[in-house]
Amino acid sequence: MFEFEFCIAGVMLISLILYVLTGGADFGGGIWDVFATGARANAQRKLITEAIAPIWEANHVWLIVIVVLLFVAFPPAFAAISTALHIPLTLMLIGIVLRGSAFVFRTYDVKEAGEHEPDRNEEREQSGPAYRRWSRVFAGASIITPIMLGVTLGAVATGTIHVNVENGQVDTDFVSSWLAPFPFAIGFFTLTLCALLAAVYLTLETEDSALQEDFRRRALIAAGSVGVMAWLSFMLSAEGAPTIRRGLSSSTWAICFHIITGTVSVTGMWAIWKRRFRLASALVPIQVGLIIFGWGVAQYPYLVAPALTFSNSAAPAVVLRLLLIIVGVGAVIVLPAFYYLYVVFKGRRRT
């Protein structure tokens, strides 16, 4: 059980959870940018921008970590996934490019105003046509990208990517694995998770109680949507992803796991309702982490069902051992730096 490939797979799962908790929330910020409404629409946008500007690039690296670990440790799985799911992955990449670019362009596409009139500068920044144009691109891309990420993960879970283990060839029509109800349910499920995370985090980013209320309302809506999508995904999994379904429903630990996840989710919602925002922003990430963790464990022992397991697609032990050493050293260096980044920008504000 504690062989190298399972350690790497564990690191990948943790990285995916961290990606959704951090990078996913950045996409969620983009989603709330679309729905910025009312008298405080501009204030909402400003809050979202300031919250994600310093950290989104670092958050984004978790995705690169996952991809690199996948192609180094499980090369046949990487080849199979990127062949059969070429289309959703390409759409996701276009989303990633447009989201990141539009976000910085929006910040810098400001007609210069003199240094001596910063207020005017800010006002133009918020309402100028360039700002609105980039906002639309940023928001649209922030919606497409998590959906396509979810579609990809959902398609892997369907067990319809058939790989010939002998020669590594993939038998695929490039479409049917992902263009199905279950992967898209997972896509929208991912979208609601991102929206929920962002709304909950944003309640802590401001002292302004009206703004806090705005994001409290949004968090409640998102939490409800998460519940609906979770239920829908589970229903569709009977047809769409039988292996996962078995893993998620048949054993005692699975039932316990559901009870824990459910309790955390409901408590999280209660905390949002009661305006216990610190508590909510601790519980909601745990809820999201548990959901992803549950999926990961239900995949076991398959990486790309039905042919590729973690064991039969793993790279040679010498490669995995070295990779684990690099991951260990990397964790010692990167995690404190990552933490420092958050302390600098997310520590209690002194204004």
Binding site: P54, F78, A79, V344
Partner: protein, 439 residues
């Protein structure tokens, strides 16, 4: 367009686009760190202004570099699953180290760009140094993986399958040192001269502008040092090629026959149908001397190997000539600037020299693009030299023309926007600089 060609075009276009932003991400931190260090040391506010203004431009370029780099890491699988399935474990080490370095780069860049008011000034400067170190390491690791494709080592093949993988040996393959050195110097050279060129342009309009003077001085100094070092690194690369990839060297030089005492060709067009290079100025025996320090040393020609194993000679030869030409112009610009500065004991800001440096703005980047063309096209028809053909690595996915065109349109669009935004930024730099002059 057949799918293999579309896949190659998409990969080439993605790399050509990304390398510009990646170079900026590597080299701009050096300029910013120097400016900020001068501010910390002298307290002169102009240096702080400079570091902040450079940081704004870097923020735009780094973001585009980060997302286009993500595209590349996926494209390895989207376009070349056969290659990744084969090579993934062997070259996994540099890729995972690159992921690590890039993580640090993104973290400290966030602190550098947005943390001016949030961390202490020395902590801020240190964040810049960390961006510089991790950015450079990240570039080195990626180039190492490419070097392996040129000189694959660290494994053996038994019955068509890979065995005895030694990731460390693969990473430290014979091309790693020369390629990494050449690319790092190229990035600093290109970015420093582009920066110097842009500031030279504004300096010509306003010689007394202290902001542009300081910017020009820092960028030109860095650029000149790199321009002086780059020929040494080029020499190391050529000697490595002669030993490990003689056919690539032959294509670069348009050398068809194996001879003792091969000439160095300046210009000329290789004709593949006649198997000869015409219209070149030939310096007798110079190539043999440069590569082997012996005027009569033997140089392998393209005719040694069958036609189907040769790279497209004309592209490689012309790209190589272009790269060298750009490098020489930059070397002249650097030497001239150094000589003028030494003689006058002041910044060389006479009109003709500023005009010359302004014209040099794109040359470093043209050299980088041409150099990568030499490396990549010169390796064809192989994706892993002498082991796997590019045609055998491509995805079975049909209609690859669609993603190729989509990404091309997307990247052209982004390039236009980036240029517009940087121009605007430089104009506001100008406005600020003028007001800074009043302070």
């Amino acid at each position: 367009m057949e799918d293999l060609l579309a896949a190659r075009a998409q990969m080439a276009m993605s790399l050509a686009f990304h390398i510009i932003f990646a170079s900026v991400g590597m080299a701009m931190p050096l300029l910013m760190v120097i400016a900020e260090a001068l501010w910390l040391k002298t307290g002169a506010k102009v240096y702080l202004l400079l570091a902040k203004q450079w940081a704004k431009g870097t923020a735009i370029l780094f973001a585009v570099g980060a997302v286009s780099g993500t595209v590349l890491s996926f494209e390895l699988g989207l376009l070349w699953p056969g290659f990744m399935n084969y090579a993934g474990p062997i070259i996994g080490m540099p890729f995972s180290l690159e992921g690590l370095a890039f993580f640090l780069e993104a973290i400290f860049l966030g602190i550098y760009l947005y943390g001016w008011e949030r961390v202490q000034r020395y902590a801020h400067w240190f964040a810049g140094v960390m961006v510089l170190i991790s950015g450079t390491l990240s570039g080195i690791f990626v180039v190492t993986a490419n070097a392996w494709m040129n000189t694959p080592t660290g494994f053996s093949i038994a019955n068509g399958t890979v065995t005895d993988i030694n990731p460390v040996a693969a990473m430290l393959n014979p091309s790693s040192f020369s390629q990494c050195l050449h690319m790092c110097l190229a990035a600093f050279l290109a970015v420093a001269f582009a920066t110097a060129g842009i500031h030279a342009y504004y300096l010509r309009r306003d010689r007394s502008n202290i902001f542009h003077r300081k910017a020009f001085a820092i960028a030109l100094t860095v650029g000149s040092v790199m321009a002086l070092l780059q020929p040494i690194s080029g020499d190391i690369s050529a000697k490595r090629l002669a030993k490990h990839q003689p056919i690539k060297l032959a294509a670069m030089e348009g050398q068809w026959e194996t001879v003792h005492g091969a000439p160095l060709r300046i210009g000329g067009i290789p004709f593949e149908e006649f198997e000869e290079t015409r219209y070149a100025i030939e310096i007798p025996k110079a190539l043999s001397f440069l590569v082997h320090a012996d005027f009569n040393a033997k140089i392998m020609g393209l005719k040694e190997i069958p036609k189907e194993n040769r790279p497209p000679v004309a592209i490689v030869h012309i790209a190589f000539q272009l790269m060298v030409a750009c490098g020489i112009v930059l070397l002249v610009a650097g030497c001239l600037g150094g000589w003028l500065a030494w003689r006058r004991k002041s910044l060389p800001i006479e009109g003709w020299y500023l005009r010359f440096v302004t014209l040099c703005t794109p040359l470093g980047f043209i050299a980088i693009e041409a150099g990568w063309t030499v490396t990549e096209v010169g390796r064809q028809p192989w994706v892993i030299y002498n082991i796997m053909r590019t045609a055998d690595a491509v995805t079975p996915m049909p209609h690859l023309i669609v993603p190729f065109l989509s990404f091309t349109v997307l990247y052209i669009f982004l390039s236009i926007i980036v240029i517009i935004l940087l121009r605007r930024l430089f104009r506001s730099t100008l406005a600020k600089a003028v007001s800074a002059g009043k302070i």
